[in-house]
């Protein structure tokens, strides 16, 4: 016993006690190892990182101003359809107003990434906070939350977002940054309830566990228990949900912009580009097909990443 207490490192102590020493591994390192072995998830992660870099460096990378119109070059085709309509300055061609499609695609990534991550961050901050309090304390907050979810679940998400966006479009908020802020708000209002409900469910089952009882027994306050014991244990399903919430926010923006009630033109987003080109789609398909391909690739990447995270963080979780 005395030798054991004098030992400095865990290795030495293990040797003294004659037990096998094992490198301590946290849940997160294990999860990362599992994620790294998933090829689809890693491919998804790479695409997501590339998209983020493109978005951040858009002003440096994009060869032209995404809203500058070069009218004589309008409807010029991409390089693989070289013909009389090809203009070598515009690699992927130009749209019907003569705007460089490559530059517009790159700048669109910027809006998409922001739309994907910012509302998700807001939604998770509010949702986790409310869900924690509702699950931990119960009572009025809990009752209100559950009734609210009943209503929000009866409202189709997209319908709700559309109503919020269209009614506030003409206000100063709706005009700020081409409608970007309004979409943030609409998405946040609609989706925080789901996150709150998920957190609540997690907290309800976790708070009966022994480690919470133990923490309480040594005198930990409710704030400490929520931060240090409940949140880290509830985090895995929340991270997975967040990984799926980012692409669904991007999708919502694309749908809204495609319907003409999202980001205001001329700000380029993939949805706006599809909306712009849709009228002349059957004669000049590329200005519509290229942003469609971009959306699809990004959506697929996020799904692969989300699936990989789910498998890595919680192997028991299904679908």
């Amino acid at each position: 016993m005395t030798t054991a207490s004098r030992a400095v490192s865990t290795q030495e102590r293990a040797a003294v006690l004659n037990v096998i020493h094992r490198q301590q591994r946290s849940l997160w390192i294990d999860a990362w190892e599992r994620l790294r072995r998933n090829r689809f998830a890693m491919a998804g992660l790479v695409v997501v990182i590339v998209a983020c870099v493109l978005a951040a460096l858009a002003p440096l990378i994009a060869p032209y101003d995404p809203v500058a119109q070069d009218t004589p070059a309008n409807n010029s085709s991409p390089f693989w359809e070289q013909g009389q309509y090809w203009d070598p300055r515009y690699v992927l061609g130009a749209d019907q107003l003569g705007r460089d499609i490559l530059s517009r695609l790159i700048w669109s990534a910027r809006i998409s990434i922001v739309i994907g991550f910012v509302p998700t961050a807001i939604v998770f901050s509010i949702g986790i906070l409310v869900g924690m309090v509702a699950g931990f304390y119960g009572g009025i907050v809990d009752n209100l939350l559950m009734r609210l979810t009943d209503v929000v679940y009866a409202f189709p998400d997209l319908l709700f977002v559309i109503i919020i966006v269209t009614s506030l479009r003409a206000t100063p908020i709706g005009e700020f940054l081409g409608g970007l802020i309004l979409i943030f708000i609409a998405l946040a209002v609609v989706s925080w309830v789901g996150v709150a409900r998920l957190t609540r469910g997690q907290v309800l089952s976790l708070k009966e566990k022994e480690f919470v009882e133990a923490a309480r027994a040594i005198g930990a306050g409710p704030g400490h228990i929520m931060r240090r014991h409940l949140l880290p244990n509830a985090l895995a399903p929340l991270i997975v949900t967040a990984a799926f919430s980012v692409p669904s926010a991007m999708l919502a923006e694309a749908v809204l912009s495609f319907l003409g009630i999202g980001i205001r033109p001329p700000t380029p987003t993939w949805g706006v580009m599809i909306n712009d080109g849709f009228v002349v789609f059957s004669t000049t398909p590329w200005p519509v097909l290229l942003p469609s391909i971009c959306i699809s690739i990004v959506m697929l990447s996020f799904t692969f990443l989300g699936d990989g995270l789910r498998d890595a963080l919680d192997p028991r979780m299904k679908l």
Partner: protein, 308 residues
Amino acid sequence: MLKYVIRRLLLVIPTLFFVALITFVLAQAAPGSPFDKNETKPLPVATIERLNRFYGLDRPVYEQFVVFLGNAVRLDFGVSLQRDRSVNDIIGQGLPRTAQLGVMALFVALAVAIPLGVVSALKQNSAIDYASVFLSTIGTTIPSFVLAIVFIYFFGVLLKLLPFVGWGDGLDRRMIMPTVILALGPMAFLTRITLASMLEAIRQDYVRTARSKGLGEQVVIVTHVLKNALIPVATVLGPAAAALVTGSFIIETIFSVPGVGREYIRSILARDYPIIMGTTMLYAAVIVIANLTVDLVYGMLDPRIKVA
């Protein structure tokens, strides 16, 4: 059970009430009026005032809401502000087409998803298994309007196989593309569920018992595995119906299907309050009823589930 049914039915009322309240307040709170659409030739102020008075838009919002509720209970949603027709008339004209589109899409989705899910569960790692994984990945990740664009380009523009504008009466070739695209999302989702619940059912003890007492493979699969595996599939029909409802207005707008969905988008852009309210209430009611039906049927299908 009866008590549960009644309680669930009564919960429908506050839910629809709040949906109506939120939509009403948001639609009315918006700046601008339904009568300022023509920017180059604005209507005279006196005319706008008369129009507002005629439609009751000059009264306070809460008063308008009470009037709306009173009429809505009798399923009267008023008259369109832009077109001289009643909301019921406009919805009544579009509804059969939207319903036909939705029902056909649900049918296509089920007809593909269930066999595909079952076969890929029975023959794991076969070509069909990979096909179903591919289909469900595409269907759940690629947005429907992007799929619509790609389909229109290949089958409509390049190959000129299928028309892609408009609808028709009875059965029409123009219905093929909108139906298939709308079906893809729910199809992918249902395939995943079928596959997962088949895999779970196959491993159950009662399946081993059935095999060990010498039942034929076909009998085991059909009466023991399939019967139990399809219960979870039934429960996701509610969300699937919701996906069809919200999917329909995008698909209807892209393919110019004169249904409720296109009317909804048009009314929102034109700020035609009565139509916005009518269509939103219709959508919410469909979703609430679909979810309620599924929950109730679930209790009947699976006696292990105790509803209380």
